[in-house]
Symmetry: C2
Subunit: 230 residues, 2 copies
DNA sequence: CGACGGCTTGATGATCATCAAATAGGGTGG
DNA sequence: CCACCCTATTTGATGATCATCAAGCCGTCG
């Protein structure tokens, strides 16, 4: 079910060879999480950096009155738990069953001193996240409900489709509530917007968590980006 | 006016000693920018990483129809222009007169291989930005207009105030339009919200770009965070 | 002094949140 | 295997917040 975690480099289906496997195996541990299980909370000691091995994780912040903002969904190969000051600044839990590789922070620091490519890989992951977050800023700050949902579906669709197809079918691994908290809207509006997309023939929803995109190009148009260059 | 940029480490007022000065000076250049001048555009070749030396920079994305989302304001010591794929994924311009140190990407890569502390510093900057962006996610996705403006003022106020004072006075270096595009609202709503804060006695606005915070604790309450721990 | 751009204020309306109820789906125990 | 229950999702009705459209104001600069 999961990748091997011996010091023999593990071969996984979904992610390219992991750089982190270069780190001595004795300092690593695979943590398996069940549906909704928490990996760490905002404010905890940031003793580990984690790499998602399998499943889907999510990081989020919660306001005093309970409002939640999901900061991102983390797929296999993504890392989470970076910190400068020794504390986590968000919480993190599994969307479904998932497993992560726990890398002691101290070890990561030490190793990345000796092996520059480890540090470079960390920076690359962080940069990747930064850039992904920038797109999401535009979504949260400037897009309408329909554009938000279309953008969201588009990102998922592109994980499943080649560049050329006009149709894709995939499963939504997360609940409406998680989608809403990710897109900065309510579950009702998410639901209504999906229904509208369905009625307009852009998607089909054979089950609540299965999406068939009937026209990727229409979805792209509805997503609102199409950069004009600057 | 600006920091020295010889290979003698420069002493600057606003930021701690720069690590980047460890990089050979012949590979660096200080770029001076006037009000609103562009440093780079989305899609340009990411040949340089920049460190803000003086003034205030901003990075932003623009949608096809002209909607703008400001991704962040960058103060002296902050870096910008990180990229994995050799292209910038946002645009960047000066809010007022500003100067930045241009560090050739190729050189940065080379040097950070030899000197792990450079790579570590880069990662630290990226991590700092990541964490700052996470707070802003909550703002964009989950906060009301008043909470947004209060949060924004609070961040600026804390740059100017000690931890104990209840009052601070500072200048807003950016226009209403920039504030609006940063907070994901319109200039009208920004203006109205500021007026409301003024009428409620939380702030004073002696000039349009001068803010006197009369009660930091009230501002904190209005900002809506006050983490509850997890 | 006059004109321009940025800001404020006002009036109106659209979008989306909220409250409320019905329906569907998934899992459990009989 | 089926019935039932609980939760997630959809749908409906209403209202608040904030965007939009439209003037007016103010400070700045020629």
């Amino acid at each position: 079910m999961y990748a091997q975690t011996t010091n023999t480099a593990a071969v996984r289906a979904n992610a390219e060879e992991s750089v982190w496997t270069a780190i001595p195996a004795n300092g690593q541990a695979i943590v398996k999480l069940g549906h909704g299980e928490t990996l760490f909370h905002d404010g905890d000691d940031a003793d580990f950096v984690y790499e998602v091995v399998d499943g889907l994780m999510t990081s989020y912040s919660i306001l005093a009155d309970g409002r939640r903002q999901i900061l991102g969904f983390l797929f296999p190969g993504d890392i989470l738990g970076l910190s400068n000051d020794g504390f986590y600044h968000n919480s993190c839990c599994a969307v479904g069953p998932a497993s992560v590789r726990a890398i002691p922070r101290s070890m990561l620091m030490r190793v990345s001193r000796d092996r520059p490519e480890i540090g470079a890989k960390l920076l690359e992951c962080a940069t990747k996240q930064l850039i992904g977050m920038q797109n999401h800023f535009v979504l949260l700050g400037r897009k309408s409900a329909q554009e938000k949902v279309a953008s969201f579906l588009l990102v998922l669709a592109r994980r499943h489709a080649g560049d050329k197809e006009q149709t894709v079918s995939f499963r939504l691994p997360m609940s409406r509530s998680e989608i809403a908290d990710y897109l900065g809207m309510t579950i009702e509006t998410v639901s209504r917007t999906l229904t509208k997309l369905r009625i307009n023939g852009v998607i089909e929803l054979p089950q609540t968590s299965t999406v068939n995109v009937r026209s990727l190009s229409r979805l792209e148009r509805l997503a609102g980006d199409e950069d004009m260059g600057f």
